[in-house]
Symmetry: C2
Subunit: 335 residues, 2 copies
């Protein structure tokens, strides 16, 4: 790789995958060698047509992952398909068996050992066998409610409690996100959807467990609540209109306890019309640390940034299933 460019295959060509490809094309050290997607609207088309670029790139979207991986010989696969480890297990295994590092936006893969210890173990062994790295990353999970708070604890000699809050004005986000948070539903339908497991931010529990594990905190229990944020006035977005009394979005809170004391609180509010979007971390510790990111980090772009920016670190990491923290953000050594 020292002699040439780093060959990249994009696996999943939805909005995030397309933005990844734009970023890859802009970097001199990277060479896009293939794109995989199953969408019949995209398969067979040159990426330039889909991305509305001038001039063909000679790279067509293909459905057959095995064929692309064999022909494109990627050093790294940027993987942006689904949120759950069991659903992406085969896709990722296939990339690893083709000898490629995998950087994935799969939310559960940020801290996979909690929900899927057996699948995580299998992925780890497979990656070690093929001398590649598998990494789950993104903005949330991946940075604002886990890696950033963890990094800030590196300034502390004692950490008692951690609160992280993210308030997102979903009006500015992609249509799928607006749907995912229930914007425009009735409160009753929202409750039913929560019961059915159709709403809620995937990865919030992973973020919580990542912080606890990294700090060496043994959680006696954790819980989560998912409630609607009700619109007080009409909110229009490019995709939908929310009337007063309807659901504007979601309030998803995850709490971790040590000996029945709440030591970790992740409070995520994503709704259309949010007035003061922000990211905020408060560490009750010695010294105390308080960080506010007014406006919050813009998720769609930052997700792509986290994936692409991980490439050099992944290339230098020890083979296996790694986490962003393994790759080295500082954290508090408390015990």
């Amino acid at each position: 790789m020292e002699q040439g460019k780093i060959k990249v295959v994009q696996y999943g060509f939805g909005p995030i995958g397309q933005a990844c490809v734009r970023a890859v094309l802009k970097r001199d050290s990277l060479l896009l060698t293939g794109v995989i997607d199953v969408d019949p609207e995209k398969v067979g088309k040159d990426i330039s047509e889909i991305l509305k670029l001038n001039g063909k790139r000679g790279i067509k979207v293909q459905r057959d992952a095995e064929k692309v991986l064999e022909e494109a010989e990627p050093d790294v696969v940027l993987h942006t398909t689904q949120s759950f480890v069991p659903k992406v297990f085969d896709q990722i295994s296939q990339c690893v068996e083709a000898g490629a590092h995998v950087i994935s936006s799969t939310e559960e893969l940020y801290w996979p050992h909690y929900r899927h210890p057996e699948l995580a173990e299998k992925l780890d062994l497979l990656a070690q066998k093929h001398s590649v790295v598998i990494l789950g990353t993104g903005v949330n999970p991946g940075f604002v409610m886990d890696t950033l708070p963890i990094a800030l604890t590196s300034q502390c000699l004692e950490v008692n409690k951690i609160f992280a809050t993210r308030v997102v004005d979903a009006s500015k986000r992609r249509r799928p996100l607006q749907k995912k948070i229930g914007a425009g539903m009735t409160p009753d339908d929202f409750r039913v959807a929560v019961e059915l497991g159709q709403l809620g931010h995937i990865g919030l529990v992973e973020s919580l467990v990542a912080i606890a594990d990294t700090l060496g905190w043994k959680l006696s229990r954790l819980d989560e609540t998912i409630d609607p944020v009700i619109a007080e006035e009409q909110v229009k977005t490019p995709y939908l209109t929310v009337e007063p009394g309807q659901v504007a979005g979601i309030k998803h809170i995850c709490r971790g306890y040590v000996d029945d004391e709440e030591v970790l609180t992740l409070d995520l509010r994503m709704y259309v019309g949010a007035k003061e979007p922000k990211d905020e971390v408060i560490i009750d510790g010695n010294p105390p640390v308080h960080a506010v990111l007014p406006g919050g980090i813009f998720g769609d772009t930052a997700t792509v940034a986290n994936l692409v920016n991980a490439i050099p670190r992944v290339l230098h990491a020890t083979p296996g299933l790694r986490s962003v923290i393994d790759l080295g953000v500082p954290y508090a050594f408390l015990k």
Copy 2:
């Protein structure tokens, strides 16, 4: 080390070294096995006497570093003596030759290749030869004006400019720091002291170069200015009184340029009576990132935290002269 505790020697027993020892004593996984200092007031005394702890610890401050390193067999040396690489070169070499990892608060060691490429190379080779890690860290340099901004760039696909500001109310800091920033001097004496190189924050240039190097920015030039902050009203601290018109502290600004455009600005203000202490990072990028830490991270404690918290990461790092960034904070992969 899996079977037992991590053996730690403290090299330098001033205020920071003493706070390190307190932190080491509080951690079950660490075992203090020796303390080195040259101060005749301390040599020969049990650390309990100096730290005002109940009961002797059986560890006396000793002057003879070679003897301590041989008898105490440290896994890690926490090194807090001086600010400049040439002054600590022999001390650190001695620790490395004794087979110990070194975590040092020496400011220039945060990014030593810029000012001292030959000494850095020697330290790197020596550390590799003895299979240990040498790390320079602290709060500033070490985190607030370098590692933190670098970590925040990991959220960006494009980075145009970075501004980092730290405002410290020096009234709350140690006496040596109040002296170091010129508090209580006349403006004329301050100017003379700056000319003589006696004032200014050591490490600010290192922070700037660390950011540039990590982002792959080739700086065409850099400059720095050191000016007094003049007291507008009387300020009393436990150690001194500053009258109106006298120097309250220092305004030290370092700028980095690419093709004559200012792309990096580090603005450090440390003075007694500062009204709104804070740390702040503004990244002009895509997406933009703005982080404010109201009150700022309290430096004395955080310096100690950075040293102690580095222990587990150092134990798992590749041997050699490493930086905090080598140990893995995410950064923007821009080219």
